[in-house]
């Protein structure tokens, strides 16, 4: 592993040895677990969400399920997990233990209250027992009481009020955790900022249904005949997480450091979150699937990548994709291209012909004798679907065509029907922003 690479990040004044944290979840439930995670290489923890013992917490049984894809076991996980079911005293004792033995590993305490006084009570208790930072859980998707979990995340004035109350009560930094079950995350994030939040973390799980039993018709997990719309996580939600982190990172008015999560398993996923603007990265599903050990590959993979790129420090990566991220109207539509084939590597499966015929420009003919595709260049839409299905990596690539090159128009099946056509051009003026 490259040794001259500094993976450390400063997040709200706290120093993390690397950007990789356990997120608030079953993987951060106890000091015994977190200790092993630190030993494996995780730089910090967002401890499983604490509550004030006012309401008993009982986890449904069973509490998790997964979404498979083909023979792949889990492209997503489904959980109906609740916040910590441990007494507050026990959780705080765990903080003391971790701070005593791992003083250089920041502890972020995740808390969730149901009204202001409860939020404040929890925040103080955490600060008093060594928490370095707070994460306000405005996003647990399983809370059905108004004013809790994702319901707060969707009620912006509450979010602001609770954040402000906590901020006034403690001196450690405060981060607000956002629900993705919303169209635009910058809006609640701005409310959190108004309340005084120092950072935003996202995303919590996406509300979803993983699977429905074919025999019993009960959504999974099947809790004795009942299923629930609940939290989906894992690789499948990464595009959603990247969207929200990127959107908040681009929002000048927000301007808060971000902690990104949602489907991070490999250093490549981690890199993508950094590139769209996250400073710290949190992981649960990847650990649920593979254990704490994946941090070795996150650290080693990212370090080697940075060394090869000549990048010495993580902040040099943060947000670097943002200048390339634009609305679609900024595309240069004057430049067009087609695919090109290295047919000497072709194995003759013909999948390109199928997808081009049924989902693209009918630009790939099939030579049944040679079992090879034949491209009709001026029909190619350059959609790249053929590349997506081709089993030979590198066989199909994109090629830009010279200026002035024209694609053939899609043929009309039967022009003799023209006399029967009822059609007039649309003549009214309208907005032009999206016009090419």
């Amino acid at each position: 592993m490259a040794t001259n690479i500094d993976l450390s990040v400063d997040f709200c004044g706290l120093l993390f040895k690397n950007p990789f944290l356990l997120s608030s979840s079953p993987v951060s439930n106890s000091a015994e677990m977190v200790e092993r995670a630190f030993q494996a290489g995780w730089s910090g923890v967002v401890f499983k969400t604490l509550n004030s013992d006012r309401l008993p917490i009982t986890h449904p049984s069973p509490r998790m399920h997964y979404v498979g894809y083909g023979s792949q076991r889990a492209m997503a996980y489904q959980n109906v997990e609740q916040i910590s079911d441990r007494p507050l005293r026990h959780n705080l004792l765990e903080f003391l233990y971790l701070k005593k033995h791992y003083p250089d590993y920041p502890i972020v305490a995740s808390i969730m209250g149901f009204f202001e006084d409860e939020w404040v009570y929890l925040a103080k208790a955490c600060e008093d027992n060594g928490a370095d930072m707070l994460e306000l859980n405005f996003s647990c998707p399983h809370m059905c009481i108004e004013g809790s979990g994702h319901k707060v995340g969707q009620a912006f004035h509450l979010l602001e009020r609770f954040t402000a109350a906590v901020k006034q009560a403690v001196s450690i930094p405060v981060m607000a955790k956002m629900t993705p079950n919303i169209t635009d995350m910058t809006e609640p994030a701005l409310y959190a900022k108004k309340g005084g939040a120092d950072a935003i973390s996202a995303i919590n799980t996406v509300r979803g249904i993983s699977e429905i039993g074919r025999e019993d018709w009960v959504p999974r997990p099947n809790v004795f005949g009942v299923g629930a719309i609940s939290g989906t996580s894992g690789p499948a939600v990464k595009p959603i997480g990247l969207n929200f982190i990127a959107s908040m990172a681009r929002c000048r008015e927000l301007g808060l450091p971000l902690s990104g999560m949602g489907g991070i398993e490999t250093w490549v996923d981690a890199l993508e979150y950094l590139l769209v603007g996250a400073t710290t990265l949190q992981v649960t599903s990847g650990i649920m699937h593979y254990g704490y050990r994946i941090v070795e590959d996150l650290i080693e993979g990212l370090s080697d990548y940075m060394a090869l790129k000549g990048i010495g420090r993580v902040p040099e990566l943060i947000g670097r994709a943002l200048p390339h991220l634009q609305e679609t109207e900024h595309f240069d539509l004057g430049r067009q291209g087609i695919v090109q084939y290295k047919l000497d590597q072709c194995i003759g499966c013909g999948q390109c012909h199928i997808v081009c015929s049924d989902a693209a420009g009918q630009a790939i003919e099939w030579d049944p004798r040679k079992r090879r595709p034949r491209l009709i260049e001026d029909k190619c839409l350059s959609c790249m679907l053929c590349q997506a299905v081709c089993p030979v990596p590198g066989l199909i690539t994109y090629k830009e065509m010279p200026a002035g090159w024209r694609r053939r128009e899609t043929a009309v099946k039967d022009k003799s029907l023209e006399p029967e056509l009822k059609h007039e051009s649309f003549k009214k003026e309208g907005p032009h922003e999206c016009a090419a």
């Binding site: 590597q345 003759g348 499966c349 089993p391 990596p393």
Partner: protein, 450 residues
């Protein structure tokens, strides 16, 4: 494990997750090459696609509608030179790191789907309205079963005449249990019975014109598929020698209740098997599994010239069989009471190619030697029962008493009599017999309805 259990247990097939994982590797080719490689017109591209899209019942239907013995063929076919030969995933796997030259295991997926149908009790085949024309089938091996099922599906009454006590032909009396178990066979036969096919076992149609007379006994057509149940003999023996078996006799004994008796003759003894084909491989491997002290495979040509499939050869060698290549049997050595003592061999060398295109083995003068052995099994080819021409005296035969048919229809020289399987082709694959049964069924329907 009890040796007998070990002997009877077929290798485990794929399970559902494994089959799905393999289906996931399939490239779902356009104009799929696998679906052009099956003698019986199986369409693997279709049933694998169905499995891939979790249409498991549909996948089973695709297999069983086409081939009533889909399970048997899945397990017994030399798929590496049929459907799997042109599998694009083989080539894709060269370009990818997941294992070079690994085709989709089509045969094993097919076997899985058929076994799965038995497990979940799914019966994909439906009979149509009952018709009046009645078919007689002679022989309940793969060709007979295939023809019978094909016509029974369309509602025609079918009766199969089987001379042996149990149905299945070569699938029962010619395959070893660890390759193809009786339980598996029973399940597959049940699929035929469920179509309403009648079986008359212990019911030879031998005797003068026995087969032809069926046409006068209320059957509107006859399909001859009696198979090849007589053995080629190496040395013409005026007096039988105790300890010498034909492969037909030996393999039958392993399946018809004489397994223990045969095991007693082989365990701890030295066995020599003569021949280089698939049947010879079954003989040597089974002898090794039955606990023979030494098993020799005696073949007069070279390793590369063996007709046995490559994986069968490797399996035999792994079982500890000694391959005695370039050695040609000349005679038996018998001791007191005509009991076998040894096999006299002469070494050969390969000379110029013969009619088959293979280099001809030529005995090396003066190189005779004697291999001491207690049992010899001759696996050098099967042929029609010597009296079989009498069962159908008007049917034209080719050399070797095989039946001559139009290969496009299975028609013999006698109106209303059709034939297929090994009695037409000589020793051939199960899947080819299945194809013959289907071909004849089509022609028979046409014969009846024009």
């Amino acid at each position: 494990m009890n040796p007998a259990t070990h002997f009877r247990q077929m290798r485990k097939g794929l399970d559902l997750p494994q089959a799905i994982a393999e289906a996931d590797r399939c490239l779902l080719c356009h104009d799929a090459p696998c679906s052009r490689g099956c003698p019986a017109d199986t369409r693997p591209a279709e049933f694998i696609r169905k499995l891939r899209f979790r249409n498991i019942t549909g996948a089973i239907r695709t297999i069983k509608e086409n081939n009533i013995l889909g399970g048997a063929c899945g397990e017994l076919c030399p798929t590496h030179r049929l459907c799997e030969k042109a599998c694009s995933a083989r080539f894709a796997s060269r370009a990818r790191p997941e294992g070079a030259d690994r085709p989709i295991p089509i045969g094993q997926i097919q076997r899985f789907l058929v076994e799965h149908s038995w497990q979940i009790g799914f019966k994909p085949l439906r009979k149509s309205a009952v018709r009046s024309e009645h078919l007689a089938v002679v022989g309940s091996g793969p060709a007979g079963l295939s023809c019978a099922a094909e016509l029974a599906k369309s509602g025609y009454p079918v009766t199969i005449f089987e001379s042996r006590p149990e149905p299945g032909g070569v699938l029962r009396y010619g395959v070893v249990s660890y390759r193809f178990s009786l339980d598996f066979l029973r399940n597959e036969l049940k699929d035929v019975e469920d179509l309403g096919v009648g079986f008359k076992c212990n019911h030879p149609v031998e005797g003068l014109a026995g087969a032809e007379n069926l046409l006068k006994q209320g059957f509107q057509a006859v399909f001859l598929a009696p198979g090849l149940w007589a053995a080629e003999a190496l040395v013409p023996k005026s007096q039988p020698i105790s300890g010498v078996y034909s492969s037909v006799g030996y393999l039958s004994a392993l399946r018809d209740g004489r397994l223990r008796e045969m095991a007693d003759r082989i365990t701890g003894r030295t066995v020599a098997v003569i021949g280089g084909g698939s049947v010879a491989m079954d003989c040597v491997e089974s002898a090794a599994r039955l606990g023979a002290r030494d098993v020799y495979l005696v073949y007069r040509r070279s390793y590369a010239q063996m007709p046995a499939e490559p994986d069968e050869r490797v399996e035999a060698q792994s079982a500890g069989v000694h391959f005695l290549l370039l050695n040609q049997p000349v005679d038996y050595v018998a001791g007191r009471g005509r009991r076998l003592k040894g096999l006299k061999l002469v070494r050969t060398r390969l000379a110029a190619p013969d009619g088959s295109g293979r280099r001809r083995p030529q005995p090396v003068r003066g190189s005779e030697w004697i291999l001491d052995c207690d049992v010899v099994i001759e696996a050098i080819g099967n042929r029609p029962a010597p009296d079989s021409p009498n069962w159908y005296p008007r049917v034209k035969l080719s050399g070797n008493n095989l039946i001559r048919v139009n290969p496009l229809t299975g028609r013999t020289s006698v109106r209303g009599i059709f034939a297929g399987g090994d009695i037409v082709r000589g020793p051939a694959l199960v899947v080819q017999a299945v194809a013959d049964g289907k071909t004849a069924a089509r022609a028979i329907r046409q014969y009846w309805h024009g």
